[in-house]
Symmetry: C2
Subunit: 218 residues, 2 copies
């Protein structure tokens, strides 16, 4: 059992609040205010801010405090463009490196997700979707890739609410894209796995970005 420090606990809390949307992009975090809120001094708050900064959830400038990152369409496009390639790479590596057991597992997850599609259970599908993607990240056997992707997805998650919304329309499409992806990985087809994942993330991102553009007409 590891004894978490106060800074760590506060980091976890703030991190969750930011990701859940309780603390919104662009919002400033004031040291004293949060210190009062948690009933501690400013010191561990500052440490927690640094952890948030490391996670890429906030940005900080000297003498100006920290604010939750605010991503515009261009930045989101950049991040999705990178994510698309990195996840596609993971898929290719997974097609090469996964054990037989791992391949069976993603096949099972995919089968389970079929039920979620039929019952239109978006939450359940999202959960299985996450499991499949995570399994493929691990299947790549590359920690650097996993960490980079995890960080990107964490930052992108601040803008996932519309994604869940959009997801309802893309439920069946997503399922079919997964089908192609899982099939390729099980067959050990590097190139098809790469293309299938690249296509899948591309479609996902297009949906999200289109939605954001429609929401925020400049």
């Amino acid at each position: 059992m590891s004894t978490l420090t106060i800074s760590d606990k506060i980091y976890n809390q703030l991190s969750a609040q930011i990701i859940s949307g309780e603390i919104k992009p662009g919002q400033k975090l004031e040291e004293q205010e949060i210190a009062n809120q948690f009933g501690v001094s400013r010191t561990p708050i500052r440490e927690a801010f640094r952890l948030l900064h490391t996670s890429g959830l906030v940005e900080s400038k000297a003498h100006k405090g920290v604010t939750v990152i605010e991503l515009d369409i261009d930045q989101l496009s950049d991040m999705y463009e990178a994510l698309q390639e990195l996840e596609a790479l993971c898929a290719r590596l997974s097609a090469e490196r996964m054990t037989a057991v791992e391949r069976k597992q993603i096949q099972r997850m995919h089968q389970l997700s079929e039920e979620a599609v039929h019952s239109e259970d978006v939450e359940r599908f999202a959960e299985l979707n996450n499991q499949i993607h995570t399994a493929i990240h691990q299947g790549s056997r590359n920690k650097t890739l996993q960490e980079t992707i995890a960080k990107l997805r964490k930052r992108l998650s601040l803008y996932r609410q519309p994604w869940l919304f959009e997801k309802r329309n893309r439920l069946e499409a997503s399922y079919r894209e997964h089908a192609e992806l899982v099939e390729a990985i099980i067959a050990g087809d590097r190139d098809q796995a790469f293309d299938a994942m690249r296509n899948h993330i591309s479609n996902t991102s297009l949906g999200t970005i289109d939605y954001l553009i429609s929401q925020k007409p400049l």
Copy 2:
């Protein structure tokens, strides 16, 4: 003119010392010791440590302080595998997105590097090599990619000494690989640019890793 805070200055110093090899991988950084060294209190040191952590140059555990990251062969392989794909992607995007001026500029840098090859000026070649790569990163028009690559290269730079050593042997090979790469970007050939860069980084990494394996026989 921005007024740098003490934490920032100390971060810059420590960062430079770590990258230059003055502070070695695995070495522990003690707050009080460094505070005395710089003639300040522990507080800004702790802030500087957080910045180092964000850069990925050190790792920290609760109540155990921070230590300079120590990468084994597997981790280096992972990082190079990721770097290879990311840089290749940048090359592809640059082939599509660079302006005519930018294409001329990398051509010019490449031409200059030819002289460095003939005079066997490794330092000069390394400098131009960096410029070419940086230009290609910028040519991708993708900030996320640029930052991710920059961070990876920074961490890898702790182990670049043998690379510079090895580089002497790879001087001409590197130049020829660059030639193919630059040619592809100027011609706007996405796929050739991708393959050329992927091949180039792959060769570079193999050299480095082979060297490290020969140095550290398990």
